[in-house]
């Protein structure tokens, strides 16, 4: 014990406290509370469950499918579903179930990579703008305004056409077009967290900027960033599907849910071969829906204002 400590002699009990509200020793960290609230949300739990299944199916695609991804059986083209090909075959005689499962890998990873990319850009720019303010803020916000003004899909289509359609370009295009929301969000979070007294307290104890940003501001802004990135991931999957459907996204033979659907642009396929477009379309819908449900559930779990 230092000398400093021994100076305190009086018993503080007189001041009185310690009638505890939570007597068990369980420590309720903020993360635990969010999880507890999230778990109560049935719809969000169903969403997480479906999402989990889709992810497992995508991961296990090589194990689950008896066919090679790109193997063509030219004698078995455009076959309707049968016991051999549960979802039939496409115009090149490839097994559709196989392609749909592999397509899930591609579509989900495009969503994940693109939304991670936008998150990195958005968080860096947003925190710089929010923390330092002044001219840097003005500059970043002007850039954000410009990107927000992009006619989103038109530019994505144009860029894909110009840069050449491929899975990587699709990820890059979506990532570079969607970071503005995260940037604004992080900036707003930083601006409001900056007003919190605990930031002043950290300054008053002599914490440097790095410590304030990393230790105090980012962890408090993290939850909303994650929510918005989840929701942006859903958007990214939709955009990938749309680009690929138009032939401007992921390129065959690599399958993605969007490009499996591409043949449905032909009226003959649309009219006569439902197995070519219905399953991948449905899977896009289900996966985006489940991600959105999870994101929505997270938002409710994090915003106690909306619950009473």
């Amino acid at each position: 014990m230092s000398r400093f400590m021994s100076r305190f002699t009086r018993n503080p009990a007189k001041t009185g406290i310690l009638n505890e509200t939570n007597n068990n020793d369980e420590v309720l960290s903020p993360g635990k509370i969010i999880w507890k609230r999230f778990r109560r949300n049935k719809i969000a739990m169903i969403g997480s469950f479906i999402l989990l299944i889709l992810i497992i199916l995508a991961i296990l695609a090589p194990v689950l499918t008896p066919y090679e991804r790109d193997a063509m059986e030219l004698q078995n083209r455009e076959e309707p579903p049968s016991s051999e090909h549960l979802l039939g075959t496409d115009r090149q005689g490839r097994d559709l179930l196989t392609r749909v499962l592999y397509g899930g890998r591609i579509s989900l990873s495009v969503g994940l990579v693109a939304s991670s990319l936008q998150m990195v850009i958005g968080v860096i720019l947003g925190s710089l703008a929010g923390y330092y303010g002044k001219w840097l803020d003005t500059l970043i916000m002007r850039i954000t305004d410009m990107v927000i003004a992009f006619p989103f899909l038109a530019l994505a289509i144009t860029a894909a056409a110009v840069l050449g359609p491929s899975i990587y370009n699709t990820m890059l295009i979506i990532g570079f077009l969607t970071w503005t929301e995260t940037c604004r969000l992080v900036r707003g979070q930083f601006l409001s967290i900056k007003q919190m007294e605990y930031i002043e307290a950290a300054k008053a104890t002599g914490a440097n900027e790095f410590r304030i940003i990393w230790h105090h501001m980012l962890p408090n802004a993290l939850a909303p960033i994650l929510i918005s990135s989840t929701l942006i991931m859903a958007t990214a999957i939709l955009v990938e599907a749309a680009l690929s459907y138009l032939g401007l996204g992921v390129q065959a033979p690599m399958p993605s849910w969007g490009n499996i659907l591409e043949p449905a642009r032909s009226m003959i396929v649309l009219m006569n071969m439902w197995w070519l477009w219905l399953p991948p379309g449905f899977l896009i819908f289900i996966s985006v829906l489940s991600i959105n449900l999870v994101g929505d559930g997270l938002r409710d779990a994090l915003d106690p204002r909306l619950k009473n």
Partner: protein
């Protein structure tokens, strides 16, 4: 004087995700014609909720139950929603704590005043405008005619609270609930509003229920006081007795923990501990964990009301024969 308002065994609870929160736990009181009654207590003691329950302004997920809520002999609980609406703002009016957020930002002061006047008094546009401006003048708003067509954001907090008072009094209610009307205001503005309210009280015949956590404000504004703690009334008496001769340990603690501007105190005597979590109420008397005179029975049973003197009720085992017996 006869009773204007009779409340018997009022219970209000809120169903939350974490469990049922009992906000008001069986309170009974009366208000006489022309009387002003103060309700004192710390935040969360249920004083506002009690008044909102009487006005039937508790929304989802709240639940109100009572044996009796009578205004001028009418059982309010038996009234249809439509009938109740016709009494709200007309027979019963409410002034809220936050003048900055209690007025609708997108409508003018005049519009919001006229609304109630037209609804309840059947006046036409011109008459109600005339009446509104009259009301604004009455509450001491300068340039009332100009303020009439202004939006709330252009007024200061004090002025907005005056406008709220004008709105509440515009239909000459029988009873006025003032829920901490000066808490959000600075002390010099609070003085203005309190003076205005005292002045108005002498001019119009309205009974007032004045909610506050500040015993200083209460002792200036009311005749009789109810002290609430954790949703129950623990003491009920006239203001003079309450301050000069409080009996419940909580009331005594409350008075002793407040420094005074007119007297120098060597040391403050705070109440130890803090208000219990409403989801995890202690058994027996809710005050017993903080009470220095707590006895065995206080842990077990909620005390009954004891009228220790004419019109002085205390809810504490210290004043009951049963409690006394066990103590000895």
């Amino acid at each position: 004087m006869s009773d204007l308002l009779q409340v018997k065994n009022l219970y209000t609870s809120f169903n939350t995700e974490d469990g049922v929160v009992p906000a008001v736990n069986g309170i009974s009181f009366n208000l006489k014609h022309g009387e002003s009654l103060g309700i004192v207590g710390e935040s969360g003691c249920g004083k506002s909720v009690a008044c909102l329950s009487i006005m039937r302004l508790i929304g989802h997920p709240g639940k109100v139950e009572a044996d009796e809520i009578k205004l001028d002999g009418t059982e309010l609980q038996a009234l249809s929603e439509k009938k109740m609406r016709s009494m709200r703002g007309n027979d019963m009016a409410f002034i809220f704590q936050e003048p900055m957020t209690s007025l609708n930002p997108v409508y003018t002061i005049g519009f919001q005043l006229q609304e109630a006047i037209q609804l309840h008094q059947g006046l036409n546009k011109e008459q109600s405008q005339h009446k509104s401006i009259e009301m604004l003048e009455m509450v001491g708003i300068p340039r009332a005619e100009k303020v009439f067509s202004e939006y709330p954001h252009s007024l200061s907090g004090g002025m907005r609270q005056r406008a709220m008072i004008a709105m509440a009094l515009s239909c000459e209610p029988k009873i006025l609930f003032a829920d901490e009307p000066t808490t959000a205001l600075d002390v010099t503005i609070q003085a203005q509003i309190l003076e205005l309210m005292t002045d108005l009280r002498q001019r119009i015949n309205t009974s007032i229920i004045f909610i506050s956590h500040d015993l200083g404000v209460i002792s200036e504004m009311v005749d009789r006081v109810i002290v609430m703690y954790c949703g129950i009334i623990i003491e009920d008496t006239d203001v003079r007795t309450l301050i000069k001769n409080p009996r419940h340990p909580y009331t005594i603690g409350l008075i002793n923990s407040k420094p005074r501007i007119d007297v120098e105190l060597e040391r403050l005597e705070p109440i130890s501990g803090s208000v219990p979590n409403p989801l995890n109420m202690p058994s027996g008397c809710p005050y017993h964990p903080r009470c220095e005179s707590a006895m065995e029975i206080c842990r077990e049973k909620l005390p009954e009301n004891h009228e220790i003197k004419d019109g002085h009720r205390v809810c504490c085992w210290l004043f009951s024969e049963l409690g006394g017996k066990i103590k000895s």
